[in-house]
Structures are given as structure tokens and as C-alpha cells.
């Protein structure tokens, strides 16, 4: 009963439909302190390595370069400078909702004054003349804040 049917065979698909995996990710003490500071005081804090002196935002336990535990929280500004940036124009699926992300939007890695690492976030402009390396920006916070990164509405251009 051998039968070759490569030409005629209808090719099926199976779809995942509405299936999803829910998660409850621990933010941890270091991250929680950062998020609570945004929520409660609309301010950013970083953590400073006792060995190399780098200030990390968001704060975390370990300095990867020095492999030491960090403990010294330092305030960093809500203002900073765009390190690298892009205007996102293509649509893609947001994996947390399964739906298309709205585009376009400005996106930048921001070096907050007093920090040594970048914080990636949305910029409220899609003008490539303004969203550029070196531009000064400032964080704008949501009125209702719940203790997630989404408490930051976006960064606005200062210049």
C-alpha cells in the first residue's frame, strides 16, 4: 500500500491559539528598592561597586567585572544623555500580549547623570533630527504608579 502523494498532500498546521505561559518574576531586593523609589518618589537610584566605583542602573547585587557584592545605593538624576538610539518603524508582536506593538516610536539607551550604565526606554519623539546621540532627556513619570518600569511614561527631549 505504498503511496507517494507529495504533490497532492494538503499541508496542515496546528496553532497555539490563546495558550500562554504566566510568570511571577521576582524583582529581588535590589530591583524592588529601585522600583519603589520610582513609584514613591519619582526618583532613580543606582548601586556603586566598592571596587571599580561603577554606578549601575538598575541596581543589582553583583558587579560582573569585579565579582563582588554591592551595597552602596547612590542617587542618580532623572535627566541624562542619549547614548545610542533608533526610531522603531517596523511592527512586531509583543510577546506578553500576543498583539502588534504600535509603531513608530523613539527608543534610546540613556546614560542618566551619575550612572555608568545605560537605561533603555521610549522617547516621546520620532524625529530623527532630535532623537540622536548626545541629546539631553528627562524622565516623565505616570500619575498612577504601581511599582513596574511602566511607571516611567517616557523620556522627553530637553533641547
Amino acid at each position: 500500500m505504498t503511496q507517494k502523494s507529495e504533490q497532492q498532500q494538503e499541508l496542515l498546521t496546528v496553532n497555539s491559539g490563546e495558550a500562554f505561559q504566566p510568570f511571577e518574576w521576582s524583582v529581588g531586593k535590589y530591583g524592588s528598592k529601585f522600583l519603589a523609589e520610582i513609584r514613591d518618589n519619582q526618583k532613580f537610584i543606582g548601586i556603586k561597586c566598592p571596587k571599580c566605583g561603577r554606578v549601575y542602573v538598575p541596581p543589582r547585587k553583583v558587579c560582573g567585572r569585579c565579582y563582588v557584592e554591592m551595597d552602596e545605593f547612590v542617587p542618580v538624576s532623572t535627566e541624562g544623555e542619549i547614548g545610542v538610539c533608533a526610531i522603531i518603524q517596523f511592527g512586531f508582536i509583543d510577546p506578553s500580549t500576543g498583539h502588534q506593538e504600535p509603531v513608530p516610536y523613539g527608543y534610546a539607551f540613556i546614560k542618566l547623570d551619575g550612572a555608568d550604565t545605560f537605561l533603555p526606554y521610549y522617547i516621546d519623539s520620532t524625529d530623527p533630527e532630535k532623537v540622536k546621540v548626545g541629546a539631553r532627556v528627562k524622565a516623565v513619570f505616570e500619575e498612577k504608579r504601581t511599582g513596574t518600569m511602566l511607571d516611567i511614561k517616557h523620556f522627553v527631549l530637553l533641547d
Partner: protein, 398 residues
């Protein structure tokens, strides 16, 4: 001291935008059969298997277990590695360490992906920290676009320079029957003409300035497999095996925001470590061919500098002068590279395998230097600048 190790066989499926005719394990099986055939071995000859891909592209957990009936791993030693975009090069490195350890003589390594089964960018977004990065993120293209814009800012690089890399990759791809993109229309035009067309055509959609569709890798289904063998048997299996001269990797960062965007320091440091092992002092002169994991055009400029093929900001000149074309001093990606085919979990292994084919003199229409390749330099890229480097050579390492 470990065993010396060579690649003695390599196989790849035809890579296409979607392989509706096969499921995952069946696709894997095609690549495995091709690699075994290339080496003249059967599955019984294989002592151990390593497989890799990225789970969230197909939504399958424990892929090594799931695919074992296609991979040939039933009643064999097998495990899975995954490091993101580097997965394919990572499994190649694992093939090397399996054999170098002296524990296994013939090891099959497999990289694969069916990117058509999900939204690739959506799945890539899940690679980033859910608390810090994911809520406002633009996927892999955003990460690359920001790097490109900084590089352009630093060295007054233009969109034309990026497009020149894209043209090279797509022209090379025309020599490779396995690769995904075959843009035949480019054949009849001059390079300058194609470059101008790419940066002015409205059909060439802007994805995230400065990256247009033509600057990016496609989304691909495909699988690749390679066989690594010990020095005791390598030359019996393949008359001209591709010896692993040295391999190293680096991955320093946990968050994208920690990266120093001015350099690709992990690629630089992994390359240096490999050159040191191999005693290579002038990489541009001493390396004969490269298969580099360049997921987008500007990487073909900036990362050439990181590897040490030229100085900072000199990438564009190197490429415009034709040195990296098929007949140049240092041909880069005769296969067409990642920008012509990107089945992500297989992509790094395609680089290693294509490099091996060059050394073995089996690269067909894409063979460079008349088949006389002393050193082929291959890389993998992924994650927060995860960099894998493997140098292959004609001569058995001392």
C-alpha cells in the same frame, strides 16, 4: 593535553522562508543525513550528539528530548546547548570539546530553527529581562539599529557604506544553492548602482533608522549538522579535514544597558584569544576567508574592526576597496552569510560548516582561493554581544 579535533563532515538543508513539508524533527533529520553522507559515516558510527536552538521560536521545551527520533540520538549520549544567536557556533564548540576531551571520537552537532512557526521579533523580545528591558523594547532590530547609529555618528559612516555590505552578501549568496535569499536581479547591475537603489527605493522599507529591510537578515527555516572527529581517525574519514585550530568565546553582559556601544569588546577579546593560540599576528594577511555571523549590514563594517582586520573607522574602506569580495584578499561570507539566510539556531553552525567546506576545498561555486585555504575564521553572535569564535585550518595543529 587534549586530542586534536577536525571537522570531517558537514550537511545542511535547503534554507527557505518556510518549510511546510516537514516538522521540526524531520527537518533536523535531513541535515543529519546530509552530514553523515558527506562524511561517509552512518549513525552507528556516531558516539555522541549535541543539539541547539532557541526554545521560544518554536515553543518547544526540552528540544533535545523532543527531536531525538529525528536527530539520531535514540540510545546515544546527547544534550542540548543554547546561547541565543550563537547557539549554532556554541554547539560547534561543544563538538570540539567533546572530542578534545578524549571521551568521544566522532561527535555529531546539530543546529536548527523553524523561524516560520512564530513571530521572530516577538520571540526575540523574550530574550530580554522581563522586568527591566521587555516592557519598552524593540527586539533585535532595535538593538542593532542603535549600534549602527552610534557607529555612524562616531566615524561619519553613511547609509551607502551599510548598503555596500548588504550587496556583497547578496551577491555571494547567488553562488550558494542552499541559502535562503537569491536576488538574481542584482546580477545585471554594477555594485554602485545597487547600493544607490537600496538606499533610495521606497520598496526597501525603513525598519528602524538607519536599518532598512535590505540591511537585515531574513527569517528562515533550516538545519545544519557537522561531524567532529579526533586526530586518530579524522584523516581516515576525510582526506582533507578542517582542523579546529582554536576556539574561544566571551559574553560579559547581563543587560543591554551595560554594553559599551562604542566597541564590540567581546568579539574583540574572543578573537584576540584565538589569534594568540594560533600565533596569528596580522589577521588580515594571514586569514584566507571568513564566515562571520553578521546579522545586519553595519556589523560588516564595525565588527571587522573589532576582530582586528582593520583599524577603528576603517571598515568602510576595507569593504569598498573590494578586499572582502569573492576575489579579494580576505573574502567574507562566500556563502552569502547571515543576511542571506538566518535559521537562528543553525546560523552559527552554518558559519563553522561553510568555513570547514572552504578549508576542505568542497565549497563548490562559492569556493575561494582555488581551494587553497590555510585558515578560515568563523564567528557567532547573539544576546548581549555573545561572541563565539572558531578558527579552522588546513594543517593539523601542533
Amino acid at each position: 593535553m587534549g586530542k586534536r579535533v577536525a571537522i570531517v563532515g558537514f550537511g545542511q538543508t535547503y534554507q527557505r522562508s518556510s518549510r511546510k513539508d516537514v516538522n521540526g524533527p524531520e527537518l533536523i533529520n535531513e541535515a543529519v543525513r546530509a552530514a553523515l553522507e558527506d562524511a561517509g559515516l552512518t549513525i552507528k558510527d556516531i558516539d555522541a550528539i549535541v543539539i541547539g536552538n532557541m526554545d521560544h521560536f518554536e515553543g518547544v521545551n526540552y528540544v533535545d528530548s523532543w527531536s531525538v527520533e529525528g536527530s539520531g540520538g535514540v540510545m546515544k549520549p546527547i544534550f542540548k546547548l543554547t546561547t541565543g544567536g550563537t547557539t549554532g557556533s556554541t554547539v560547534a564548540m561543544a563538538g570540539y570539546y567533546h572530542v578534545a576531551s578524549g571521551m568521544f571520537d566522532r561527535v555529531l552537532v546539530i543546529g536548527w530553527e523553524k523561524n516560520s512557526e512564530s513571530d521572530t521579533t516577538g520571540a526575540i523580545v523574550t530574550a530580554f529581562n522581563p522586568v527591566w528591558e521587555r516592557p519598552r523594547f524593540g527586539g533585535a532590530i532595535a538593538g542593532l539599529a542603535v549600534e549602527a547609529s552610534k557607529y555612524m555618528h562616531n566615524y561619519k559612516v553613511t547609509e551607502r557604506d551599510g548598503a555596500r555590505v548588504a550587496v556583497r552578501e547578496r551577491l555571494h549568496a547567488l553562488n550558494n544553492p542552499y541559502t535562503h535569499l537569491h536576488q538574481e536581479w542584482m546580477k545585471s547591475m554594477e555594485i554602485e548602482q545597487i547600493v544607490d537603489l537600496l538606499i533610495t527605493s521606497e520598496e526597501n522599507q525603513m525598519l528602524a533608522y538607519p536599518l532598512r529591510m535590505s540591511d537585515m537578515c531574513p527569517r528562515t527555516d533550516g538545519a545544519a549538522a557537522a561531524i567532529f572527529a579526533s586526530e586518530d581517525i579524522a584523516e581516515k574519514i576525510a582526506p582533507k579535514p578542517a582542523w579546529v585550530v582554536s576556539t574561544h568565546n566571551r559574553h560579559n553582559y547581563a543587560l543591554l544597558g551595560d554594553i559599551d556601544w562604542d566597541s564590540n569588546d567581546t568579539l574583540e577579546s574572543a578573537s584576540k584569544a584565538v589569534f594568540k593560540d594560533a600565533g596569528i599576528k596580522e589577521p588580515f594577511k594571514e586569514i584566507d576567508v571568513c564566515e562571520l555571523y553578521l546579522p545586519y549590514s553595519y556589523a560588516g563594517l564595525k565588527w571587522m574592526e573589532s576582530i582586528g582586520f582593520c583599524g577603528p573607522g576603517e571598515g568602510p574602506k576595507l569593504v569598498w576597496d573590494g578586499h572582502t569580495d569573492m576575489d579579494g584578499e580576505l573574502p567574507v561570507n562566500p556563502s552569502g552569510g547571515v543576511m542571506s539566510s538566518n535559521p537562528i539556531g543553525a546560523t552559527g553552525l552554518l558559519r563553522v560548516g561553510e568555513g570547514a567546506l572552504q578549508v576542505m576545498g568542497k565549497a563548490g561555486d562559492r569556493q575561494v582561493k582555488g581551494g587553497d585555504v590555510k585558515y578560515a575564521f568563523t564567528t557567532g553572535f547573539g544576546g548581549c554581544n555573545w561572541a563565539d569564535v572558531m578558527l579552522l585550518g588546513k594543517k593539523k595543529p601542533s
